[in-house]
C-alpha cells in the first residue's frame, strides 16, 4: 500500500455493537484496528471456543479478507450515502432477522442471506467505509488484468459521477477515459457531454482524500509536496482549470 494518499488524513472512528457492549473501531494511517481488543488473535480463539462471534474481530477479519476484493468497490460508498446491510432489505420491506415478514413470496436469495461482516463494515457510519474503498482501490491499482480493469474503470466512473453530482447538482451522463495522461474535464461538442480523462489513482489521491469537490471546484488531481502542502488541479464550472494549494485535509 502506498502511503501517499492517506498520510495526512486524520484518524476516524466508528462505534459498533460488540456483544453487549458498544466498542470503537479505528482507522489511522491506513490501518484498521479494534482498540477495545488488545490481542485480536486470542480474541479469535476465545470466540471460536465459546461459539460467540465478536463483532469487532469480525469487522477486522472482513477488512483483511476483502482487502483486494473488487466487490468492495461495487458495494461501497460512491459519496457519503448511508448504506444498510443487505439482509434487512427485502423488496423494500424491513424484516426481522428470522425473515418473519415476506413480500409476496418474492424474497431475493441474496437478501435472505446471513449478514456478511463486509456489509457491516461498509455500513459503518462516518468515514471508515470510504477509507476502506480507497484502500482496496489502492491495492488493486496497477494490476495487469484486463477483466479487473473493467471493474476498476466502472468504480472510477461511479465515484466521479457522484462527485459531479455534488459539484453540479445534476445526475448526468458523462464520458470517461481512464488514462494516466494529463487529467482533464472538457465538454464534448458532438454529444454536449462532459468528458473526463483521469487515472484510476484519482480514486485514492482525490476521492479517497475527500478533496473531490473543493470550494465549488472539481478536483482533477492532488499531489502532496515535500512541505506537506497539497497541490490540487481543479476545474470550475466554466471548465477553466486552476492550481490550488492547501495546508492539509
Amino acid at each position: 500500500v502506498s502511503a501517499s494518499w492517506f498520510s495526512e488524513l486524520a484518524p476516524v472512528t466508528a462505534a459498533i455493537q460488540c456483544g453487549a457492549d458498544t466498542h470503537t473501531v479505528l482507522w489511522r494511517d491506513g490501518v484498521f484496528s479494534t482498540p477495545d481488543h488488545a490481542d485480536p488473535e486470542s480474541e479469535r480463539a476465545l470466540a471460536a471456543l465459546a461459539g460467540e462471534p465478536c463483532g469487532c474481530i469480525e469487522l477486522l477479519d472482513a477488512w483483511e479478507r476483502h482487502a483486494t476484493d473488487p466487490l468492495v468497490l461495487m458495494l461501497g460508498p460512491r459519496d457519503r450515502e448511508a448504506l444498510e446491510p443487505r439482509d434487512r432489505v427485502i423488496w423494500g420491506l424491513r424484516v426481522t432477522p428470522t425473515g418473519a415478514s415476506r413480500a409476496r413470496g418474492s424474497v431475493a436469495p441474496e437478501a435472505a442471506a446471513p449478514t456478511d461482516a463486509l456489509d457491516r463494515l461498509l455500513c459503518l457510519t462516518g468515514e471508515i467505509p470510504r477509507r476502506y474503498v480507497a484502500t482496496v482501490a489502492d491495492a488493486l491499482a496497477g494490476r495487469d488484468d484486463p477483466a479487473l480493469a473493467i471493474s476498476l474503470e466502472a468504480a472510477l466512473y461511479g465515484r466521479l459521477g457522484a462527485s459531479l453530482r455534488r459539484w453540479s447538482g445534476q445526475i448526468r451522463w458523462f464520458g470517461l477515459e481512464m488514462s494516466d495522461g494529463e487529467p482533464s474535464l472538457t465538454r464534448d461538442p458532438e454529444w454536449n457531454l462532459l468528458a473526463a480523462t483521469l487515472p484510476f489513482s484519482w480514486m485514492t489521491e482525490v476521492w479517497g482524500r475527500g478533496v473531490d469537490v473543493v470550494d465549488d471546484e472539481l478536483t482533477l488531481s492532488a499531489h502532496r509536496g515535500s512541505t506537506g502542502t497539497l497541490t490540487l488541479l481543479t476545474v470550475d464550472h466554466a471548465l477553466v482549470t486552476h492550481t490550488r494549494t492547501r495546508a492539509g485535509v
Binding site: 466487490l71 461495487m74 458495494l75 460512491r78 459519496d79 450515502e81 448504506l83 444498510e84 446491510p85 443487505r86 432489505v89 427485502i90 423488496w91 423494500g92 418474492s106 431475493a108 436469495p109 441474496e110 437478501a111 456489509d119 461498509l122 455500513c123 473493467i150 471493474s151 474503470e153 466502472a154 468504480a155 466512473y157 461511479g158 459521477g161 457522484a162 453530482r165 445526475i171 451522463w173 470517461l176
Partner: protein, 317 residues
C-alpha cells in the same frame, strides 16, 4: 469510434443508477440496467455468464441503498423438449377460422424492443419502457440513429400512455404527426385513442380451436369472455422456444398476444392466471386478459405472435 464493450457499458449504467439513488430509480422498478442487460444478451453482444454477476453485484448495491429493484440471477425454468401439437378441440361453432403467417423479418435489435413492449407476461403496473434497451442497442451500434424503425417507436411513444413509454427527451427522434409505415398495425390500433375507453358487452363465446405449430409454438383457445371492463381468453400453449434471458425478474416470453377487431381497434393481452408450465416459456395454460372489447365489434382476431410468425384466429362475435 471506440469499440463497444458491453460489460463496461453495463457496469457504467449500474454505477449511474447507484449514484442516481432511490429518488430516481424508484420511479420505475424495471430499470434501465435490467433492460440493457436483456437487450445486449438477446442480441448476443454480451455473454450471459458475464452479465449475471454484474447484475447480482448491483442488485446487492441497490438493496444496500434502499433501491430493491432487481434480484440476483435466477436459473431458467425447465423448458419443454419440443413443441407438442395440442389435443384437437371439438369445434364450438362455425365461422371460426385459423391460419398462420410469417412476419416481416426485423433486425434482432428492433425485434427485441417491440417484443419487450408487448410482453404478455408483464403484468407489472410499471412495465418495461424500452428506454434502457434502446439506449444500450444504440450504444452497441446495433441500431442506427437513422433507422426508420426509430420513427415508428417515436410515434408509438408519442401516442401511448406515459407509463408504457415514458416521454423523456433524447432517446428517440420527435414523434411524427402521422404514423410512419413502419409502425406495426397492432401498435397503430392500440394508440388510436379509443382502445381502453369501451364498456364491453357481457358474453361468453366458445372458441375451441387449435393453431398449427408456428415458429415452434402451438396454441389452443377455448373460450372468450367479455365483461364491461375486460375481455379474456382461456388458452393452452405448447412451445419449445427459450425464454428471453432476464435476471432478477421473471424471464420474458417469446410470445406476445395481440388482438384486433373489425373497428380498427387493437388490444394487447397479459397473463392474469397461469397453471401447469411457465408463461415465460409459452408453455402451460391460463387466462390472458385485454381491455374491454368495443361493443360494436363484429369480429375479433386473436394474434398470438413470436418475432417471426403468428397465428391468426378469426372469431365472429
Amino acid at each position: 469510434m471506440p469499440e463497444f464493450d458491453a460489460e463496461l457499458y453495463l457496469r457504467r449504467l449500474g454505477e449511474r443508477e447507484v449514484v442516481a439513488g432511490a429518488s430516481v430509480s424508484r420511479r420505475r422498478r424495471h430499470g434501465d440496467l435490467w433492460e440493457a442487460a436483456s437487450a445486449l444478451v438477446s442480441c448476443e453482444v454480451l455473454d450471459p455468464a458475464v452479465a449475471a454477476p454484474v447484475l447480482d453485484g448491483y442488485a446487492v448495491a441497490f438493496a444496500m441503498r434502499g433501491m430493491p429493484r432487481i434480484a440476483p440471477a435466477q436459473p431458467d425454468p425447465p423448458r419443454q423438449p419440443r413443441a407438442a401439437p395440442l389435443e384437437p378441440r371439438r369445434p364450438a361453432s362455425g365461422g371460426i377460422d385459423v391460419s398462420t403467417e410469417q412476419l416481416r423479418p426485423a433486425s434482432p435489435a428492433i425485434a427485441h424492443i417491440w417484443q419487450l413492449l408487448s410482453d404478455f407476461t408483464d403484468i407489472d403496473p410499471d412495465p418495461a419502457s424500452g428506454e434502457g434497451a434502446l439506449r444500450a442497442l444504440l450504444a452497441a451500434g446495433l441500431i442506427s440513429r437513422q433507422d426508420p424503425e426509430l420513427e415508428a417507436l417515436a410515434w408509438v411513444k408519442g401516442h401511448s400512455a406515459p407509463e408504457r413509454l415514458p416521454r423523456r427527451a433524447g432517446w428517440l427522434p420527435a414523434a411524427p404527426e402521422t404514423p410512419p409505415a413502419t409502425v406495426p398495425p397492432g401498435w397503430r390500433g392500440l394508440t388510436n385513442g379509443r382502445t381502453g375507453a369501451f364498456i364491453g358487452v357481457e358474453r361468453t363465446v366458445p372458441v375451441q380451436v387449435v393453431t398449427p405449430v408456428f415458429d415452434g409454438v402451438c396454441i389452443a383457445v377455448d373460450t372468450l369472455t367479455s365483461t364491461p371492463h375486460t375481455f379474456a381468453v382461456e388458452l393452452e400453449m405448447s412451445s419449445a422456444l427459450p425464454s428471453r434471458p432476464v435476471w432478477g425478474l421473471p424471464a420474458r416470453s417469446p410470445v406476445s398476444i395481440w388482438a384486433r377487431d373489425d373497428r380498427d381497434n387493437a388490444y394487447l393481452g397479459h397473463v392474469v392466471e397461469w397453471t401447469g408450465g411457465h408463461p415465460e416459456l409459452a408453455w402451460g395454460s391460463g387466462t390472458v386478459e385485454f381491455t374491454a372489447l368495443d361493443p360494436a365489434a363484429g369480429e375479433l382476431v386473436l394474434l398470438p405472435q413470436t418475432a417471426r410468425a403468428r397465428a391468426v384466429i378469426r372469431i365472429p362475435l
